[in-house]
């Protein structure tokens, strides 16, 4: 599951994208992991995350199975962090997403002091993660680099679409929907916040960054269709 590694963009475009996640190792520290994973999520609240999630139930803005028809006139885009924490019912990967390095670094510092015993990873630019570690007085244990996309890249959509759709590394956010949301924001049919919430509901492990998505949508609104971001 390399679900946060291959986000599309250059290092500068990850300035507001810091994903910190906790994972248990099968057979090594998975016994009694559930309360520790919940504690991870609880601790993250103090540092104003922009999303929380787990790999079984999704993020803080979720689809609903029984919508009221009036929802078309007023639909909430507010994240429900409490639902994520309370809904975690089995050990799985949990994540907290931040829109600034200071918050991510402070959270990492708090995790170091809490000593949960779980593996903690930071997914962001190479330098951004290194700086978080330095700020928390930690040395990196391992690093996994993304070399980006290769092969038949002509089958990929425009850069701004990719920046949105790859924020769900499992490809649950389709390029068609991301492109549609860019168009709708451009046409004034949805605000960037509404469009970001719409996309966020499809991310099945809660690592989508609605703050970065809003920025990408705002930038795309002012750009001529077909132009790329990078």
């Amino acid at each position: 599951m390399t679900n946060t590694l291959h986000r599309y963009g250059n290092a500068a475009s990850f300035q507001d994208d810091y994903v910190v996640f906790a994972i248990q190792c099968r057979g090594k520290n998975d016994v009694g992991a559930l309360p520790k994973l919940k504690k991870f999520l609880e601790m993250a609240l103090a540092f104003q995350p922009v999303n929380l999630g787990d790999a079984r139930h999704g993020g803080a803005v979720r689809p609903e199975r029984n919508l009221n028809p009036l929802v078309h006139w007023k639909r909430s885009t507010r994240p429900d962090f409490r639902a994520v924490i309370d809904g975690l019912d089995a050990p799985t990967t949990v994540a907290a997403v931040f829109d600034n390095r200071e918050a991510a670094a402070n959270f990492v510092q708090a995790l170091k002091e809490a000593d949960l015993g779980l593996s903690i990873n930071i997914s962001t630019s190479v330098d951004g993660a290194e700086q978080c570690c330095h700020a928390a007085g930690l040395r990196r244990h391992s690093v996994g680099y993304s070399l980006g996309f290769e092969g038949k890249t002509e089958r990929l959509p425009a850069a701004e679409v990719l920046m949105l759709s790859t924020m769900c590394g499992h490809s649950m956010i389709s390029a068609s929907l991301a492109g549609k949301m860019i168009d709708w924001v451009r046409e004034g049919r949805r605000t960037p916040e509404e469009a970001a919430a719409c996309l966020s509901r499809f991310c099945s492990c809660g690592v989508f960054n609605p703050c970065r998505a809003r920025r990408v949508l705002e930038e795309a609104r002012r750009r001529k269709p077909g132009n790329t971001v990078l």
Binding site: N3, I23, R65, S119, I122, L138, F149, I173, S174
Partner: protein, 277 residues
């Protein structure tokens, strides 16, 4: 997955939602229809879309009226108004599609939700990749292109020919009929999935050789590939080997996943067995 023709009102919302573009409105029946060969059973349509449970006849009448007067109805784009999606019981080999496409389904072979394994995310506990070693994750098909197993097999066979070892706790490896040849079982070769990750490990000296093979094969297959390269940092938390080697090969990694080393073994360990007397 199937769409109930009795419930579908052809609103078209799901046609945008499908990651592989397998859903379209069939003009002959005026209902959303799934191209079963392209569908990867990711369940995005079923799980990702919110549902209303409106009366299909009423919705069709209102939509028809709006269409007649050329009124643009502006509904929420991620809603199925009549809850028309109906999951099917999948049998072999089609069930493989869901295992590799729906991240909510844990792989039996790994117990991890998603398509891969713990990789270096738990390296501080598992010790999977040691100093002097490089872990490769070669992911096929994402974002949103998809891949068939016969395309993956071309890569695994090429990698097997240079003698690299496939990660045992990996879903693709678990479906190989011969790991030494990189052969994948025949009955799934034409199954299309959203993505799959091949994991290998090699000595750091072989980075260039492995990446050269990947680059050669990726030209021959009709999908996209995303490559991850991982390594253990030194005692100072630095990587002066793999990052530098990648730069020499022309790569400029922008993003990384960094394990910060806070994990440890906490499970009760079995009592050591004493010597038999």
């Amino acid at each position: 997955m199937r769409i109930s023709p009795n419930r579908c009102v052809a609103c078209g919302n799901c046609t945008y939602v499908c990651p592989t573009g397998a859903i379209y409105i069939d003009p002959a029946i005026k209902r959303a229809t799934i191209d079963r060969d392209e569908c990867v059973e990711c369940y995005t349509c079923f799980h990702g879309m919110s549902q209303e449970h409106l009366n299909p006849t009423l919705v069709r009448a209102l939509r028809g009226l709006s269409h007649f007067f050329r009124l643009r109805f502006d509904p929420e784009p991620d809603v199925c108004p009549t809850a028309a999606f109906e999951p099917e019981e999948l049998s072999w080999p089609r069930v493989v599609r869901r295992a590799f496409s729906d991240p909510r389904v844990p792989h039996e072979s790994t117990g991890v939700e998603g398509r891969g394994t713990e990789e270096v995310k738990t390296n501080d506990v598992s010790g999977r990749v040691q100093v002097g070693e490089v872990g490769f994750t070669i992911e096929f098909g994402r974002p949103g292109v998809g891949v068939r197993f016969h395309e993956i097999e071309r890569m695994t066979q090429a990698l097997a020919r240079i003698g690299v070892a496939f990660e045992k706790k990996n879903p693709v490896t678990s479906l190989m009929s011969d790991t030494t040849a990189g052969a994948i079982r025949e009955d799934i070769l034409n199954e299309k999935i959203l993505s799959a990750i091949v994991e290998i490990k090699a000595p750091v000296e072989r980075i260039e050789e492995v990446l050269r093979v990947v680059r050669e094969v990726e030209k021959q297959i009709d999908t996209v590939i995303s490559i991850g390269v991982s390594t253990r940092c030194d005692e100072d938390g630095e990587d002066n080997v793999v990052g530098a080697a990648l730069e020499r090969l022309g790569y400029r990694p922008e993003r990384a996943k960094t394990n910060i080393g806070l994990g440890r073994v906490t499970n009760p360990q079995p009592e050591p067995v004493g010597e038999l007397r």
